[in-house]
Symmetry: C2
Subunit: 320 residues, 2 copies
């Protein structure tokens, strides 16, 4: 069993759930997180564990990162750190070039330097771009439409060349939209915020027909760990997702319902919420199903869990 795990971005939405699961399974877990999107409150369970270590820091700081690797004697890196706000880098592409790609590249350099051979990577359906069809893991051509998707594809490309050049092994897991406890942003947040300002009307970007699979975060983490433990190629790569999907209109209606309001929904029109958005996305899950995994929670249920969590914790005030 690999004992020492590094999780980059381990205080974040998905990273913190991974941290909890890996600690529960008996691993020693070191988390590095710059707390730009992550939160210390996500690590309340972890911090009671003697096998847990938290380092506040930015993996763009190569010297710090190399020091951590020098001391950590890691077997596997779960590289979760990234910008996760896709819309943000339309104005400034550096957000994703630095925080999504260069972070990955730095982790790979540190692994090379300190002879760490295993990387589990949080990739994304956004690498496929707007294909208009359901895509398998072997889909081509790959023309992402957001800088986030481009940066994740670029990250996959370097992971691949590092695997070949230095004998690394990689587990590349491509996420759809993920929701659930500890989510930090996205349509659900935006809707709740808007409705707190004006409980009578909710403006929704696009025409409400954008439809996507929303995977529940705990299902996602279970799948990541299964893939890591049960596949052993040089590069193991999987779409992760849920076969059910949810429209933006349904999300808006669930938020209004959970808030106990009677707000009118006004759509701005058009089939995209923002530039770089992929409006109707679905992809093939045959490969992960063949491993024996299926999500326990449907897309709609996952969205509703997320809404309830945010409302219960009143996180929309905490968050901004």
């Amino acid at each position: 069993m690999d004992k020492n795990i590094l999780i980059t971005g381990g205080a974040g939405f998905i990273g913190s759930h991974l941290t909890d699961s890996l600690l529960m399974e008996g691993y020693n877990v070191t988390v590095i997180d710059n707390l730009s999107l992550g939160r210390l409150t996500n690590l309340l369970n972890a911090q009671n564990n003697q096998r847990f270590k938290f380092i506040k820091g930015d993996i763009l700081d190569k010297e710090l990162l190399f020091n951590i690797f020098n001391e950590g004697n890691f077997d596997t890196v779960f590289h979760m750190a990234a910008n996760s706000d896709i819309a943000k880098s339309h104005v400034n592409p550096d957000v994703d070039f630095n925080n999504t790609l260069t972070t990955t590249y730095n982790v790979l350099l540190a692994m090379k330097e300190y002879n760490v051979k295993n990387i589990v990577f949080a990739s994304t359906s956004a690498i496929y771009g707007d294909t208009g069809v359901s895509v398998s893991e072997d889909f081509g051509p790959l023309f992402p439409i957001s800088h986030y998707g481009a940066s994740k594809l670029a990250s996959e490309a370097y992971i691949s060349s590092f695997c070949e050049n230095y004998g690394f092994k990689a587990w590349i897991t491509r996420f759809p939209n993920v929701v659930g406890e500890r989510a930090t942003h996205g349509a659900i947040y935006d809707f709740i915020k808007k409705l707190k300002k004006n409980p009578n009307e909710l403006e929704v970007l696009g025409n409400g027909t954008q439809i996507k699979p929303y995977l529940y975060v705990k299902d996602l983490v279970e799948a990541i760990l299964l893939i890591w433990k049960s596949t052993n190629e040089k590069i193991n790569y999987f779409n992760l997702g849920v076969e059910t999907r949810t429209t933006v209109k349904e999300i808006a209606e669930m938020v209004i319902d959970e808030m106990g309001l009677n707000a009118v929904i006004k759509y701005t029109g058009g089939n995209r919420g923002w530039v770089g958005d992929v409006p109707t996305f679905s992809y093939s899950l045959d490969k992960i199903h063949a491993l024996g995994w299926n999500p326990k929670v449907t897309s709609n249920e996952a969205v509703r869990k997320s809404i309830r969590y945010i409302l219960d914790k009143d996180l929309c005030i905490v968050a901004k």
Copy 2:
């Protein structure tokens, strides 16, 4: 007709041939090149032309690059600048991360800033990795095995997201091995150098069976210009190549023959020359053939032209 062209890496092997062709067709051509692989002697024809301007500089210098865009009023950028020595970055991956990817990213940022909408890009068959099959342009998955291939795939990814975000158009041309006048390195050079040191024996990395298509540089430039002029999608992407192929053994024999020697060839064994090398490569050229283009020169003829040019100019001494 687009009048003002910027060619990055325009003093290099391929870039300088593009420069000559575009000047001959009546365009105004500005070249920026840091002369790390490029040579001023490649621009001897160009420098007599009033429509030509040369700037010695590095496009990693963003301030310089932005100044050039500010003054240039460019219609189209031919982005050729890159590290082209694939084996080099096995030891130091930064060579390709900086010179092959970051250069591209900087060009895209400058285009965004100065509202230049058209980019012609020198991509590569190396984005496909070691597939073992003949690949079309839509092949997936994309797992490059060299940092060079990874950096070119990463570049394509950002070109794609910039196209979507800022209304750019792109012509992505994926090169095989290219040979001919003005080549700066590669197996032919290595063999000539070795034989100048020891005319009796030639050590060849691998077992000599590596087989690849070698495209003649003037055929390549003709294809690039045809694609740029005759396709008009948001992203136009083409494999470029020649259907004939040449083994490393044949190259070694042609070099010995052209040098008038009787050297014995000694193979080091194994089916790869170096880490990141794709030993037997071929890809589908149906898409470029459908545009009405076919190379005039076979792979073997192209290799022989390259050998003769290097020997005639005695470039192996000039080069190092």
